[in-house]
């Protein structure tokens, strides 16, 4: 089970986050200040930390994060903030954050990102992998070529990037915003319908006629790549 530490001072928001994460199958611990959060994060072992940027008291979100990283704790941290300005985002990530989510957010977005963060921890990316495989779908990361069974799938560079991200996060829900940020390298976007069109194209190429579909749409959330049963 994935253990999540939630550091959030607003009781209502914390309650909602806790409920959403528990429903998603996470084991949640909640603290409402930076000092306690730091102690917990250092003494217990968590898979991922959800950290509010604004916290009461001497230790705010960024302060706690800096202290955490200085103590050599590498637990992935997702920063929650009401400040969406790009500078804030950059500052948060620079202080050692792994992801950044602006309030108000949708819980599906939060859980999808936490899934990605905690999974990343299980399979460290330092390991050099040249091939990725999900079911009968195979990606050659060096040649940037894709095969489904014996069939070669011809993809445009952007489609390949989308598929690579999906494969890296196979069996996880990936939101449109996550895809956009990872593949287009621009942050924050509301034009999710455009991503849908891109995904539609990709899907037509990956899931050919008569093949078991691998790319599934999760309504109101995003996509998931599953190996055919």
């Amino acid at each position: 089970m994935t253990h999540v530490l939630v550091v959030e001072d607003d009781p209502a928001t914390a309650r909602e986050i806790e409920a959403a994460l528990q429903d998603h199958g996470f084991d949640v611990t909640h603290v409402d200040n930076g000092r306690e959060g730091l102690v917990r994060a250092i003494s217990d072992s968590y898979d991922v930390i959800v950290l509010d940027r604004m916290l009461p008291g001497a230790l705010d979100g960024l302060g706690m994060l800096t202290a955490l990283r200085a103590s050599g704790i590498a637990t992935p941290v997702l920063i929650l903030s009401a400040l969406s300005a790009l500078d804030e985002r950059v500052r948060g990530l620079r202080a050692g954050g792994d992801d950044y989510l602006t309030k108000p957010f949708e819980f599906i977005e939060l859980t999808a990102r936490l899934d990605a963060l905690s999974r990343r921890r299980v399979a460290p990316s330092e390991e050099r992998v040249n091939r990725l495989r999900v079911g009968n779908l195979e990606l050659d990361l060096l040649k940037r070529s894709v095969k489904r069974g014996e069939r070669t799938v011809e993809l445009l560079p952007r489609e390949y990037a989308l598929l690579e991200y999906l494969v890296q996060h196979a069996e996880q829900v990936v939101t449109r915003t996550m895809l956009f940020e990872a593949v287009w390298n621009y942050a924050y976007d509301e034009r999710t319908n455009v991503i849908e069109v891109h995904m539609g194209r990709l899907r037509r190429k990956v899931d050919g006629d008569g093949e078991e579909p691998m790319i599934h749409t999760i309504r109101g959330a995003g996509y998931v790549l599953r190996s055919p049963a």
Binding site: S84, L86, W184, D189, R191, V194, G220
Partner: protein, 452 residues
Amino acid sequence: MFSVHLREIPRTISFRTALMSLVLFSCSFLALFGYLYWQTAGYLLAEVDTALYRQIDSRSAQPEDLRLAEIRKHSEQDIDGRLPHGLYDAQGQLIAGAIIKMPASKVYDKPAEFNWKQPKKNKRPVRFILHRLDNGQTLMVAQDIHDIREFDELLVNAMVSGGSLLLVVGLLGAVGLGYAARRRLDVLTRSIERIVKGDLNERLPTRGNRDDIDRIATVVNQMLDELERLMSEVKGVCDDIAHDLRTPLTRLLAGLERAQRRHLREEEYQAAIDNAIEDAQGLLSTFRALLRISEIEASARRSSFAEIDLNRIAADAAEFFEPLAEERGIELTLNHAPAPCLIFGDAQLLFDATCNLLDNAIKFSPDHSRVQVAVMDTPDKRGLCVVDNGPGIPEAEREAVFRRLYRSESSRHTAGNGLGLSMVAAVARLHDMRLEVQDAQPGCRIELIVSA
């Protein structure tokens, strides 16, 4: 109603300035007059002294009997006593001359003064020199200086009366200036008070003579114009928000109430909840977009400015929208500049702005038409433009489309929150870019032009 209390006048700057210059002027007046007085009076007395010495010299050089004769003769001729002489023996007794009694002063060969009492006449001021002659007698030559004294007096009188006049006129002037300034400021104050009370249409009165107060009033009026514009914009935005958010909220509520009222099956509840979530998410995204525009307008983001290539932005945006255009059979073309078009800006924001423009262009273009993204990099025009073959934007609406939540009549039924172009406008303002809407005949051409 324009009455000015007298005790308020001394507090005005004009009054104080006038008073200060009055003091300075009085000082210089005193100095000038004092110098004049000292110079003329001293000069006249010096003239008298020279004449007296000359007479002493000539008289003492004369033989004794001639001198006696001449003094006697002179006394008879000088009836008015203009230049009285006196010759006294060693005991101080008069031998000859008009001045019977030798003055008490026993200083010789130095000019001195005394009041001479002539028989049957008033005392008159007289300047004299005593000289001891070789034969032991004392010679006295003198000159009536009554005229000089009178001249002095005249001079002093002139100074006193002139000075008083100066003071009176100056003080009156200061009071007048203070009064005028006070009155003018009162008018301004009253206008400002009305503005503070909420009448933003009020403007400070100006005289059009470009003086100090006029200039300040003009600047303040400009500030008020801007303030009024902002206030009306805020009000407009509030109205729009209230209006635009009421519709989806009503829909949301209606859906939930319907679900509550009817006895639905489980999957129907599911559908109702899904609809409600979708509506709420739509509302949330409108709020997010509004917040984002405010954030951009707070212009704190200049700190994230860097050198970026407009070609890259245009290419990314065109590539992002290409499948959407293709789906509708729209030909999306990219005309990039031959060389990198580098400007100082925020890549994220410019990308978003370009996407918004493209989104609109594709949304409003008919199927199988053309949309073009171009980077302009000529000496007189640098920037980015998006051209479509859609219905275009009527001349009258070209300003309004950049307002928050504005939806033109023709776009009411297309998806969107009316914030896309406002966001573009905010990005343009942050980058000091000009945003121009032109007629592409048919269609619309929107240009983002970097200010030179």
